[in-house]
Each structure stands twice: as structure tokens, then as C-alpha cells.
């Protein structure tokens, strides 16, 4: 006996095997990201006002990446449609674009967005010392407006050896615009375009700092969730790209010659996975970049 319903659907369920399988797999993926997002909710609700940063990520780049993923979702469904209509050339064209989109997304993330964060520095000031750095934080101004306080001074770390050398007693930071001009109403809300650090340098005593580090996962609960969720999402993108590459190999062309419906089913299943990855990003993007 051969395993039935690998290509043609079973009559009572109306589905072929892989389709049931991929949806079950996606259900488990929903729970995986559900666990991560509930961690996000839990940690964010637990954070005191001002402990959850805003506007630290590059919004235009994030928007562009969102657009790229959406475009790739369109092309993958077009690739499937082309296969259904037996237009193999078109299928390969759309598939190539999909793969390119996935690769661009990953390159932007790994070669631009993440490294940019790794070079940025932030020092969270102790609750008791916030007043001392009022000139960089502008908390009176924020309080008057009913906004959450600022507790962090961020920018480019001038004396980068200060991170590791216990003999250096203070951090010298080329300030981000937010800390350079904290009382300006322009700084109440994050900017759309990325604004580089200013030339204004502030020195922050280590004794006044609760925790200071580069914008690494360990920097804060925010960056921990950001890097974990986008990292896991990126791993999914990579997985999808690899599967699509397999769809372009000669083995798949042979399968097309033998049984085009089988290849179409495979593309549909991997497409479903890809759409799910896109769908996760639709939530990741506003939660981390915008809010």
C-alpha cells in the first residue's frame, strides 16, 4: 500500500495530507509566537512608567522591510497561481523575486539594523539621581505635560573603554537629540526619520547609573524581547528562503515534469508558511517600532 492523499484530496476532509500538516504546524507556530508575545505583554505591563523606551528603532527602515515582506507575500501567491496555470517561466520569475525579498529583508536586519543598535549606548540613571541629570532628561517638562518620565541618557559612547575598565568613573556620551534638547516639544514624541547623535557631550558618573550598556539584548527588557522576537522571526525568514531555494532546484523542475500538481501543492504549503511569517511581522512592526 502506498500512502494515499499526498496530492489528491481525501474526499471527506477535502484536503491533501500536507495541507493538514502545515496548518497544524502553523497552529503550533501561533502558540510559539503567542508565548513570546505574551512575554512581551507581561514584561511591558510590569514595567514602571518610563522603563519601556520608545522611538529607538529606525522607522523608515522598518517600514521598508514591512513593505518588502508584503511584496514577497504577493509574489509567492502569484508564483503558486502561475504554477496552477502551468506557466513555469512565470513561476520561476515570481519565486526568484520572493527569494530576493527574503534575502533583502535579512540583510537589512542583520547588516544594518542590528549593528546600528550594537553601536548605540544607553545609561539608565538611578531613580534617586534623576534630578541631577535633569538638564538631559527634561522630566519637569514631561511631568507638566503628563507624559512618562525619561530615565535614560543615550547616544554615542565616547570613551568606550569605560564599559570594561572599572578605573574609569564616568561615561562620556555624545548625546542623542532627545537628551541634547530634552525640553523641546519636538522631542515629546519619537521622530520618523533617524536623527544621528549630536556633538553635545555629557558625562554621566557610573555611581549614578543603575545599568548601562550598548543596545544589546542585555540592555533592557525592551531590547531583550526585540532581539529575541525579531531573531526568531528572522530564523523563520531564513527557513522560508531555504525552502524556496529548494523549489528552484532541478529536483523541483523534475517534479514539475512528472506531476505539476504536486509541485503546486508544495509551493502552496511553503507559501502558507511564508504568509504566516509575514503575518507575525505585521504585529512585530508596530509593537516594537512604533509604540
Amino acid at each position: 500500500m502506498e500512502i494515499p492523499y499526498t496530492v489528491a484530496p481525501r474526499r471527506d476532509t477535502g484536503l491533501w495530507n500536507a495541507k493538514v500538516g502545515i496548518w497544524l504546524f502553523l497552529a503550533s507556530e501561533v502558540m510559539l509566537f503567542g508565548g513570546l508575545f505574551s512575554a512581551y505583554v507581561f514584561l511591558r505591563l510590569d514595567a514602571a512608567p518610563g522603563d519601556w523606551p520608545h522611538g529607538l528603532l529606525n522607522v523608515p527602515v522598518g517600514t521598508m522591510n514591512t513593505a518588502i515582506l508584503i511584496a514577497s507575500s504577493v509574489t509567492v501567491v502569484l508564483a503558486w497561481a502561475a504554477l496552477k496555470m502551468r506557466q513555469f517561466g512565470r513561476y520561476r520569475f515570481y519565486m526568484t523575486i520572493t527569494i530576493l525579498c527574503g534575502v533583502i529583508f535579512l540583510v537589512v536586519k542583520l547588516a544594518y539594523e542590528w549593528p546600528q543598535k550594537f553601536e548605540h549606548f544607553g545609561a539608565r540613571i538611578k531613580e534617586s539621581e534623576l534630578v541631577k541629570y535633569e538638564q538631559y532628561l527634561g522630566n519637569e517638562h514631561l511631568l507638566a505635560k503628563g507624559l512618562a518620565p525619561r530615565k535614560e541618557i543615550s547616544g554615542h559612547l565616547h570613551n568606550s573603554q569605560a564599559l570594561h575598565d572599572p578605573n574609569i568613573k564616568e561615561y562620556e556620551i555624545a548625546l542623542d537629540p532627545v537628551n541634547a534638547d530634552p525640553t523641546s516639544p519636538k522631542m515629546d514624541r519619537p521622530h520618523f526619520f533617524y536623527v544621528p547623535a549630536t556633538n553635545k557631550i555629557a558625562s554621566v558618573e557610573k555611581a549614578d547609573v543603575e545599568y548601562a550598556n550598548m543596545f544589546l539584548p542585555k540592555h533592557s527588557a525592551y531590547f531583550a524581547t526585540y532581539f529575541t522576537i525579531t531573531g526568531l522571526h528572522g530564523a523563520h525568514v531564513l527557513g522560508g528562503v531555504l525552502v524556496f531555494c529548494y523549489m528552484m532546484l532541478p529536483a523541483s523542475t523534475r517534479l514539475y515534469r512528472q506531476n505539476p500538481e504536486h509541485l503546486a501543492n508544495r509551493v502552496e504549503v511553503s507559501g502558507l508558511f511564508w504568509h504566516f511569517v509575514d503575518l507575525v511581522w505585521i504585529f512585530v512592526f508596530p509593537l516594537f517600532y512604533l509604540l
Binding site: 505574551s38 511584496a71 507575500s73 496555470m85 508596530p286
Partner: protein
């Protein structure tokens, strides 16, 4: 099973006429949905710079838009608008547990004895 094995001929098994027409009719729709998604991405970004009073309100608005976008992806790209009952059942089941995970985690945070 319908598939035919024609490994050694150049001829490709022809598409199911009905299915192919069906797919062709949908291609335009896919592109339109893609454009809608792009538009709503821009809208999400724009809305995040509008002050809705509290951060909670902003989060709610952004999540509403995101849910709408996700719904489009699921319904059209993932063919959920016309899928088999079995798939719906699996998803309803899953959705219930995801909501439980979120809701109860939130509740447990919300109602402790000591903070």
C-alpha cells in the same frame, strides 16, 4: 488519485480547467490585496504619530489595524476565506488557547496579593 506519471515525456499534465480559471480570476485580487496591505502599513505608521490620548489607546488602534492586515493575509493569501471546515476547527481551537494564554497571563499579573 488523478496525477499521471509522465516522467519521460516533455508533456506536462494539463491543469484542471476549472481550477485554472478559478486561479486566473484571483491573480488581480492578490495584487490588489498586496496594495491594500502596503497602504495600511503607511496608515499604521502615520497613526502612531497621532496622539490618541494615552499610550494604551495608541496601542489599541495600532493592534486594530494590524489585526485587519493580518486578517487580509489570512483570508486571501492563505485562502482562509474559502477553506475546509477542518482547518477552521484547528484554528478556532488554537485561537482559544492563544487567547487563554494572553488573558490569564494578564490576569495573573493584574491580580496578585503583593506587587
Amino acid at each position: 488519485m488523478k496525477e499521471t506519471h509522465q516522467a519521460h515525456t516533455a508533456e506536462i499534465a494539463p491543469p484542471d480547467e476549472h481550477a485554472a480559471e478559478h486561479v486566473a480570476a484571483h491573480v488581480r485580487k492578490y495584487v490588489m490585496v498586496g496594495l491594500t496591505l502596503l497602504t495600511f502599513t503607511a496608515i499604521t505608521v502615520a497613526l502612531s504619530y497621532v496622539n490618541f490620548g494615552t499610550m494604551k489607546a495608541n496601542v489599541a488602534v495600532a493592534m486594530l489595524v494590524a489585526t485587519f492586515k493580518a486578517g487580509l493575509v489570512a483570508a486571501i493569501f492563505m485562502h482562509l476565506s474559502a477553506e475546509r471546515r477542518l482547518i477552521y476547527r484547528i484554528l478556532i481551537f488554537t485561537g482559544f488557547f492563544v487567547l487563554g494564554l494572553f488573558w490569564l497571563t494578564y490576569l495573573a499579573w493584574y491580580n496578585p496579593i503583593v506587587r
